[in-house]
Amino acid sequence: MSVESVVRGTEAMCEADSIPTAPAATPGFYTLFRTEFTLAVRRRSDIVNPLLFFVTVLALMPLGIGPEPEMLSRMAAGLIWVMALLATLLSQESLFRGDYEDGSLEQLALQPQPLYFPVLAKVLVHWLVTGVPLAVLSPLLGMMLNLGQAGYWPLLISLALGTASLSLIGAVGAALTVALRRPGLLLALIIMPLYVPVLIFGTGTVQAALDGYSYGPQLAILGAILAAAAALAPLAAAGAIRISLEN
């Protein structure tokens, strides 16, 4: 390159008073969260579908396995937990898909700040619109399946904690499969094994309460899983997003 153009370029840069100095604007956590929440509220079907699945399948259960109250009450906690897990899994596929297709995921990946917080904001919103409604509805379905009254609160609390972990873990699978056209079964295969501990301690909480034991330890373990997932899953998901975006 010629000397003149170097000098000219430098002069232009140094003398113009409207020198573009601002680094690329990065959205803060609140902006990310609010945007995701607005998008989620506008896509109502994404909120309603998992909830509808959860309620319908559980309403069908007594028809399938028979209406004996003792049998239902023995199975209630497990059924509700498995259905909550499947409902979360169903809604997980679309977590990053829209952003991947319209290019905003790439924009996020180009920000100098790490992808941890954008992923966390997305998962938080996903939990608020799927996990929390599932947890809130669960005592009602427990009543329908003749779950003992002692199990209502443990069920609600364990589902609230557990679905948050499920959302976080599922985000890793969703990020890994975002570049695939139909991830369906692959996504389930990747994250189902990781869901197992949450399921075991979730049903364990309710079972302990029904048997008259203290359910604190199980809740504590669920909380520990959530803490570990909140720290590690967004990191893994961020790495997976970067891999998916390379192609």
Binding site: V6, T10, S104, E106, L110
Partner: protein, 234 residues
């Protein structure tokens, strides 16, 4: 991270002058995709106040080149340097001064144009002014999924009209789906950016009326068939 643009003339020591004289330098760059070498030996320099237009046939590797230069694709050979600092070390500094609008323009269809710009960190007043400049006055509260392809492209391009834009603009096919007036307005905005010392890297199939413009044709850097080499490829 703070931009390294020199703020005052005395800060621009001789070595920084050289460094900012070459915002983005590409030396001997080769990229491949799916076992096929797209281009090799690619060299050009993007200096402040200049624009580079990457040309090439469909599938020649324009988008791959762009995505390599912004660091989205790390599978390449050769050297890329931002202000004299080679990748991957210079990548973080480059990202801080980058405004990238890709093929998928990063416009969320479930948001309004105003909300889309807010997501990119724009205040309400600046966003409204930018939308006015790209001819979307009156559409700021309409969901983007109800807008046309050209209007969605304009929402993405409105980022270029926000105050204090980042110095390096990387635009992949910015003229696609734009009408004649839109192209003219975008060219004017790019020229304004070049005059204040920014630099623009763009791909386009049509001639772009910005100056000073350096054209890089990828066809000149395509690998040529040679009998002994063809056994090793793939």
């Amino acid at each position: 991270m703070v931009s390294e643009f020199p703020q005052t003339p005395e800060k621009a020591a001789p070595e920084t002058q050289l460094a900012c004289g070459q915002s983005l330098a590409v030396r001997g760059l080769a990229c491949e995709r799916d076992g096929r070498v797209l281009f090799e030996g690619l060299e050009f320099t993007l200096a402040p106040g200049t624009a580079v237009q990457v040309e090439g046939a469909n599938g020649a590797g324009k988008s791959t080149l762009i995505r390599t230069l912004i660091g989205s694709v790390s599978d390449y050979s050769g050297t890329i340097a931002w202000r004299g600092q080679a990748y991957p070390g210079g990548l973080a500094a480059m990202r801080c001064s980058l405004l990238y609008i890709g093929h998928n323009a990063g416009v969320r269809r479930g948001l309004t144009p105003l909300e889309n710009l807010a997501w990119y960190g724009a205040g309400r007043k600046e966003a409204l002014r930018a939308l006015d400049e790209v001819g979307l006055y009156g559409f700021e509260d309409v969901l983007c999924q109800q807008l046309s392809a050209g209007q969605n492209r304009r929402v993405a391009l409105a980022r270029l009209y926000l105050p204090a834009p980042p110095p390096l603009w990387v635009l992949d096919e910015p003229l696609a789906a734009l009408d004649v007036a839109g192209v003219a307005s975008l060219e004017a905005q790019m020229n304004r950016h070049l005059q204040r010392g920014g630099c623009v890297l763009l791909t386009s199939h049509q001639p772009v009326n910005v100056a000073p413009l350096l054209r890089v044709n990828l066809a000149e850097f395509q690998p040529h068939f040679s009998a002994e080499e063809s056994y090793c490829v793939g």
